[in-house]
């Protein structure tokens, strides 16, 4: 065994010396190979972590959202429809939502304006009772007690004339508590709202562009009267009946589009899917690079390499020794590229905030969340990556060598010119 190990070490010594004789070619190959592994590993770490994080964060999103669709477009939802939803068997609670988008020309950014629900329950324990109870929030047109603040978040009290900003907006506009933010209303008038507080920076992945305002200000800003809301959320008595209730909603309100929690989660499960435009570009570039590597190896050896094999065989190397040498050549290049690429990818995604992907992810938006991904990395991902990158290259190196290693040393050495 010791003898075998020593022999392998001599072969590795020789292989690395041989690789170093063609420095430019082999370092170039190593750099390109490392880059491919880095891109693949970064993509894998980023997409897996964001999908996993989305599934954990969005697990308590509303069970069903009901929108009204007119000519294929999202339309305002009439409050009168809520009565129809109430009557559907299995519905536990119906709550309206008021939200929309506002384009701020000053910084060329889109904000999401949202009216927080009247009951800001965060405990997660108060599931509606089994019998049908209908909750229509203040945003649904019900009169609220004017003496009480409408919403409180981390000490910031939301009242008419005030708003709570997402951290991304505060950063972009360089504004903070007690500053004023002007908005141009639907009729051209200017609405000046005071900032009562900001959402935490930790929650930027869900709240970076959020502006929480009262229903009164929302309606004043967009000119939406009390008979309409943006959409409604429906809570269901039995979670296993969500699909059934959704189909009943479709039947009762043919122009309504129910979106279930499962569908929301599936939407984020398919984000950054390998079939998506940018992802297929990355994957096809990697596959193409591997095909070129394999083609280069499979299409035969250079004259220099062929002569080297001839000399080795002439001085007494066996065919199996030559194959072992080529195996180690493939292993040295691919393992070095694999470890370097994977370690750099981890640092890139979880320590530098995916700095390479950032311009592509930002796209044309000027408001982009600053978020730190939780590293959801496991052995399975690393194994997949290993079999995707190291194995194909090593195999592609050995196969053509079999042919070259069996040739006559005399004819190999006579072959001149590179």
């Amino acid at each position: 065994m010791r003898q075998w190990i020593e022999k392998q070490r001599y072969i590795i010594d020789f292989t690395i010396s041989s690789l170093l004789r063609r420095k430019v070619k082999n370092f170039g190959l190593l750099a390109l190979y490392t880059l491919i592994v880095f891109m693949l590993a970064s993509t894998m770490f980023f997409t897996y972590s964001i999908k996993k994080e989305a599934s954990l964060i969005l697990k308590d999103t509303p069970e069903i959202i009901v929108q009204k669709i007119v000519a294929g477009r999202h339309d305002l939802f009439p409050v009168s429809y809520i009565d129809t939803l109430k009557k559907i068997r299995g519905v536990a609670a119906v709550e309206s939502r008021l939200w929309g988008y506002y384009y701020d020309g000053l910084v060329s950014a889109n904000y999401t304006l949202l009216v927080p629900p009247a009951n800001g329950d965060t405990s997660g324990k108060s599931r509606p009772s089994a019998k049908t109870t209908v909750v229509v929030s203040e945003s649904g047109g019900q009169q609220a007690d004017k003496s009480k603040p409408l919403f409180e978040l981390g000490g910031a009290v939301l009242e008419p004339g005030t708003l709570i900003t997402g951290n991304g907006i505060a950063r972009l506009r360089d504004i903070g508590k007690d500053d004023y933010m002007p908005f141009r209303a639907f009729d051209g008038s200017v609405l000046n709202l005071r900032i009562a507080g900001a959402l935490s920076s930790q929650s930027e992945l869900v709240s970076s562009d959020l502006l929480l305002i009262t229903a009164e200000d929302f309606r004043k800003l967009f000119g939406i009267d009390n008979r309409y809301v943006t959409d409604v959320t429906v809570a269901v008595n039995n979670p296993s009946e969500v699909e059934m209730v959704a189909s009943k909603i479709r039947k009762a309100l043919p122009e309504a589009r129910p979106i279930s929690r499962v569908e929301i989660l599936r939407t984020y499960d398919s984000i950054f899917n390998w079939r998506g435009g940018m992802m297929i570009v990355i994957f096809s570039a990697a596959v193409l690079a591997f095909v070129i590597f394999a083609w280069d190896k499979a299409s035969g050896l250079s004259a220099g390499e062929r002569r080297e094999i001839g000399i080795l065989k002439a001085v007494g190397w066996e065919t199996s020794d030559v194959i072992q040498m080529k195996f180690w050549e493939g292993a040295v290049v691919s393992l070095t590229a694999f470890f370097t690429g994977v370690i750099l990818a981890y640092v890139h995604v979880f320590f530098t905030g995916s700095i390479v992907f950032e311009p592509a992810l930002k796209g044309w938006s000027s408001l982009y969340p600053n978020f730190e991904l939780t590293p959801f990395v496991n052995l399975e991902q690393l194994t997949t990556l290993f079999f995707l990158t190291v194995v194909p290259y090593t195999v592609a190196t050995i196969v053509p060598i079999w042919r070259a290693a069996t040739i006559d040393p005399d004819s190999a050495m006579r072959f001149t010119g590179e």
């Binding site: 954990l56 709550e95 988008y101 949202l114 869900v206 929301i264 398919s270 470890f339 992810l361």
Partner: protein
């Protein structure tokens, strides 16, 4: 030092570093649990439906709420053209619309 020793030293170092990164991932996962719970609580409290990943267009900001007019948002021949559209798929619910 022999080349083979250098090579095995590098591979061992890489392997140790990879194991350390896996340990780091595992510790970070537990350490960041409260942050994840805070985000989940905010989603539940405000009845949010989407991640704030792409703010450049309304249908990319709220991916799951995108409507059927997305592809023709500006005029009938204006196909989807925002860069973030290349990372995303149409929402699941659109494919089920009757």
């Amino acid at each position: 030092m022999r080349y083979s020793s250098l090579f095995f030293l590098y591979i061992t170092g890489g392997l140790v570093l990879l194991v350390l990164l896996l340990v780091h991932a595992s510790f970070s996962e537990s350490a960041r649990q409260p942050v994840l719970e805070e985000k989940a609580a905010l989603v539940k409290m405000l009845k949010l439906t989407d991640l704030c990943l792409f703010t450049e267009a309304r249908y990319t900001r709220n991916l799951s709420q995108a409507d059927l007019g997305t592809a023709f948002q500006d005029h009938p021949m204006s196909l989807e053209h925002f860069p973030s559209g290349s990372f995303t798929q149409p929402p699941e619910s659109i494919r089920k619309f009757p």
